[in-house]
């Protein structure tokens, strides 16, 4: 047998689920169409985002080298993969890890892929995802196939869709939880993935699950939708359900989620999520990205009205077996430990073990078992370390490993007696650092290292703070040690600075005629109570003086706090004005000539500039369902061409016909968002809405293009013989039909735009204001 030349050949159909394989094939075809110029760059950008293929800093093809802007040498010519995004420029790949759950096979594949397609590092994000940087777009289909072979999808990791569903990493082993939310997070993630009702959002949608209310757990109240496990006794039987929250979010304008319902029974969780999605898709802002998250919709409508609309929507939903079929499995769901429970009972204590044990080990509610945190520096793990962690997992716990929103990895179900050996094993790969979940364990988004929107170096600052705080970790007052620091490179809050005791986000200030990286200091946020409070901004400090600011703030806290006073209470008590004074002299820096290093960022000798700031792809372009469906029709036509080339005439004819049906469906979606996949309904609605009304009508050709569709339907359904000539004709007619559908779509869009302009001469109106 000959050696496979591609991963597609190597990973035979039985290794990748058919749905995932098909999805990746479609993406690969879309890439091909983009290269041929047959898909608009905006549509392609959202298409790739929805597969986790994200932009990265400098992908507009230029970079400031500290003295001048250099145009990067990229061979792709004018080909782009999105607006101002060069095809050959390196990108970021985001990989969804629902609730952070990983098994050893997945960890090994992730390690391998980071070596072959990235820079050898897997990065754990603040949403339990894994990210690679510097990935070439041409490598992404192979990368996706290799992930799919171990049950991982990148689908909907980015874009205006439901992002990775997160959950408390202790779910199932937590001492305080009501019940294990893992199966519900899993079911929700599966149910909403690719669901038609989640494809037309104006912005991303984030969901989190938590097993309890009081601890940090899933950080529910900062999510678009969050569910906290609850139970209540109904007719003498304990019933599971969720306290459901909606409309939370960080970003530049943080909102705490509002209580939607104190108790949503478990069987109502998925239909309610679906109903919320439908209301968001229908009424959420689409044109003004800055106000398109669901938090703005809820703020505008008020929670009562939003609730009423959701319940009304829920009542109309046709029943779906998937809403409840997972429940029996959910009740039975239980992770199986690899080893029997056993206490340490004295036992060996290797050097450093006690210190590590004090911060990194959590006693599970199951006696004799613990969960141990492997602290990753800045969320990064090398390929060798990741493979070693996979071996460690096989040796001690099997597949009960989770990534955490604090960018670490948690090993659950460790038999307590194994802890010293486990510690030695992680220490051997330099991952035995103590201080997980303390002030030393700083969280940071990618910032200017790789993010197009980054203003200041969040990772650079986090690295510096980590070094300095680790050095004096043993001397730190316990009250300080338990604080958390989180850093974002800009106001968009990917580093979750609002919920840290001490948070920072990058900004720019002009000092002595120079741009200087600064961080806004945000104090008093609270992780506990599911992100219970957001911090307040107290002032901007030059980036290079932030370590001093941390020292000042923590020293002041230790000195002046009242007995057992929390940091949040302390900040509130002494007030913003007082804190500003504490930091006042730190806001000044020496002149550029005297100390040029203040005018550069951490870990970057270039003089600071905002020249490299790009356009964010955080949410992607808002692409309507009609545009997406038109792009799908193009892809199906491309497939018809391939069948034709391979001599598969019947398939070519049928696929060409279906590409026309798809284009007709795209137009129908403009007027009826809920049009089904049913061929008869699509054709009936198309005839009624577009043909009978002559909306789909060419000035010169009349109804000719519509006739192609209906004649093709008769031909395909009559089972007529498909000759090569007839197949070619059908493919050509399909092309003309799709072109006409595009023209019709553009005409309708222009008309709608003109109508809007007439109604709002300033052109500034948004749904939020309306």
């Amino acid at each position: 047998m000959s050696q496979p030349e591609t991963w597609k050949e190597k990973l035979a159909a039985d290794q990748v689920l058919p749905d995932l394989a098909r999805e990746i094939d479609i993406y690969e075809q879309q890439m091909e169409l983009r290269k041929q110029g047959k898909i608009d760059e905006k549509v392609f950008a959202e298409t790739r985002l929805r597969r986790g293929v994200y932009g990265q800093r400098y992908d507009n093809g230029q970079r400031h080298d500290g003295t001048r802007v250099q145009k990067l040498k990229l061979p792709s010519g004018g080909l782009t993969k999105g607006p101002e995004t060069v095809w050959d420029a390196p990108g970021m790949m985001r990989i969804k890890i629902p609730f952070g759950g990983l098994n050893p096979e997945q960890m090994e594949v992730l390690a391998d892929l980071s070596e072959e397609y990235s820079d050898g590092v897997s990065h754990v994000t603040t949403r339990q995802d894994i990210q690679y940087h510097y990935v070439h777009i041409e490598d992404t289909p192979s990368l996706m196939r290799r992930l799919a072979a171990v049950g991982i999808t990148t689908r909907e990791a980015c874009g205006n869709v439901v992002r990775n569903v997160t959950a408390c990493p202790l779910a199932g082993v937590c001492r305080d939880e009501v019940f294990d939310v893992t199966p519900y997070a899993k079911a929700c993630s599966r149910f909403l993935l690719g669901h038609p009702d989640t494809q037309d959002f104006g912005r991303k949608f984030k969901i989190a699950f938590s097993g309890c209310k009081d601890n940090a757990c899933g950080l529910v109240t900062m999510h678009d939708m969050g569910a906290i496990a609850r139970s209540k006794v109904v007719n003498g039987k304990e019933k599971r359900g969720f306290e459901l929250y909606v409309g939370g979010g960080l970003g530049p304008v943080p909102h705490k989620a509002k209580l939607f319902d104190e108790f949503v029974p478990e069987e109502e969780l998925l239909p309610m999520a679906q109903a919320v999605s439908r209301v968001f898709a229908r009424l959420g802002e689409k044109r003004n990205r800055a106000r398109a998250r669901i938090k703005f919709l809820i703020a505008n409508l008020g929670i009562e009205e939003f609730r009423r609309l959701v319940l009304e929507e829920r009542a109309k939903l046709p029943s779906d077996l998937r809403w409840t079929e997972y429940l029996s499995w959910a009740h039975e769901y239980k992770e199986a430990p690899l080893k029997p429970a056993a206490s340490r009972n004295g036992g060996e204590r290797p050097e450093g073990f006690d210190r590590w044990y004090a911060t990194n080990v959590y006693q599970q509610r199951q006696s004799g078992y613990v969960a141990a945190t492997v602290a990753l520096p800045l969320g990064d793990v090398t390929a060798d370390q990741f493979r070693a962690l996979a071996s460690i997992a096989r040796r001690f716990v099997k597949d009960t490993v989770r990534t955490t929103v604090e960018q670490n990895i948690l090993f659950r179900w460790l038999s307590e007696a194994d802890l010293p050996e486990f510690y030695k094993a992680v220490q051997a790969i330099d991952l035995g650092e103590p201080d997980a979940g303390t002030i030393v364990d700083v969280t940071a988004c990618p910032g200017t290292d790789t993010c197009k929107l980054g203003i200041a170096s969040s990772r650079g600052l986090a690295r510096e703070l980590h070094y300095r705080l680790s050095e004096k970790s043993l001397e730190l007052d316990a009250a300080v040690k338990n604080l958390r620091i989180k850093v974002s490179g800009c106001f968009n809050s990917c580093g979750q600075h609002h919920i840290a005791d001490i948070g920072f986000y990058g900004i720019n200030r002009n000092v002595n005629g120079y741009q200087v990286p600064h961080f806004q200091v945000v104090l008093g946020g609270k992780l506990k109570d599911n992100a219970g409070e957001y911090g307040v901004a107290v002032g901007a400090v030059p980036s290079k003086r932030i370590p001093e600011a941390v020292e000042r703030i923590t020293e002041r806290y230790v000195r002046d706090r009242e007995k057992d006073e929390s940091f949040q209470d302390f900040v509130r008590r002494i007030g913003k004005k007082e804190i500003k004074q504490v930091l006042d002299d730190l806001t000044k820096i020496p002149s550029h000539d005297a100390a040029p290093s203040y005018y550069a960022d951490w870990g970057d000798p270039r003089e600071f500039t905002l020249e490299d700031l790009g356009t964010g792809e955080c949410a992607g372009e808002v692409i309507t369902q009609a545009e997406f469906t038109l792009a799908a029709s193009e892809r199906e036509l491309f497939e018809a061409h391939l069948f034709l080339d391979d001599g598969e005439l019947v398939k070519a004819a049928r696929t060409a016909y279906w590409s026309m049906v798809r284009a007709a469906q795209a137009l129908v979606k403009i007027q009826n968002h809920d049009v089904s996949e049913d061929e008869a309904q699509i054709l009936a609605e198309f005839r009624c809405r577009f043909c009978d009304t002559q909306v789909f009508y060419d000035k010169y050709a009349g109804s000719k293009f519509a006739d192609y569709l209906f004649k093709a339907k008769d031909f395909v359904h009559n089972g007529s013989e498909v000759t090569r000539d007839r197949a070619i004709q059908l493919v050509q007619e399909a092309q003309l039909f799709i072109d006409a559908a595009h023209a019709c779509h553009n005409k309708l869009r222009s008309t709608a735009s003109a109508t809007r302009s007439a109604a709002s001469p300033s052109g500034m109106a948004s749904a939020g204001e309306g």
């Binding site: 970079r63 500290g66 040498k73 420029a89 390196p90 070596e115 072959e116 590092v121 520096p377 090398t382």
Partner: protein, 190 residues
């Protein structure tokens, strides 16, 4: 077997002489001296035995790599190369050695950095093309030996395949006597 995704690493003689972070400034200055070839510098100095400091480009990355706890210059060819396998090996090794020499001559390092010409690692960064097996080694060996004969110019050397199956296909190259990278480069140019 058609070779692609060739990586070559030459090791630093006394790694403690230069802090890893020193290479951040050097690579930024190299970028300033070129014209759009390199995208960026990636700093992984916070990781133990990690990829170190990388200079990222479309065709090939150059890094001061610390994988396996052994610091060296890693030349990671990413884009396909044309020509025979001998030509591809020559092109990749030459690029790696030229960068080693350039670093040795970097004024800010004041002669503290020396690479070992007697110890290198040849790697193919593609598990599909080159699974880490004896079979791959047999397919590659003739080409590699043919090329190394020219690189080492009569000096005895040994090859040892990395036998760890989960890792990428790689071969350690060791000469019997010490040699400098400048010498190796000269051999290639002869």
């Amino acid at each position: 077997m058609e070779l692609q995704k060739i990586n070559v690493k030459f090791f630093v003689a006394e790694p403690d002489q230069v802090p890893l972070t020193a290479f951040i400034d050097i690579f930024h200055s190299w970028i300033q001296a070129t014209d759009g070839i390199y995208y960026d510098v990636a700093d992984y100095s916070h990781m133990h035995n990690g990829p170190g400091i990388l200079m990222i480009a479309h065709e090939a990355n150059i890094s001061i790599d610390e994988t396996g706890g052994q610091r060296g210059l890693l030349y990671n060819r990413k884009q396909p190369l044309d020509g025979s396998n001998q030509e591809k090996l020559r092109c990749t090794f030459r690029a790696a050695l030229e960068n080693c020499l350039r670093l040795e001559q970097e004024p800010s390092l004041q002669g503290k950095l020396k690479f070992r010409g007697d110890k290198g690692l040849f790697l193919i960064n593609d598990r599909l093309l080159a699974p880490n097996t004896e079979e791959t080694f047999l397919l590659v060996r003739d080409d590699l030996e043919g090329f190394l004969g020219q690189l080492y110019r009569g000096v005895d050397y040994s090859l040892a395949r990395n036998l760890e199956p989960t890792e990428r296909f790689s071969v350690w190259m060791n000469t019997a006597v010490p040699c400098e990278v400048a010498e190796l480069l000269k051999n290639l140019e002869a």
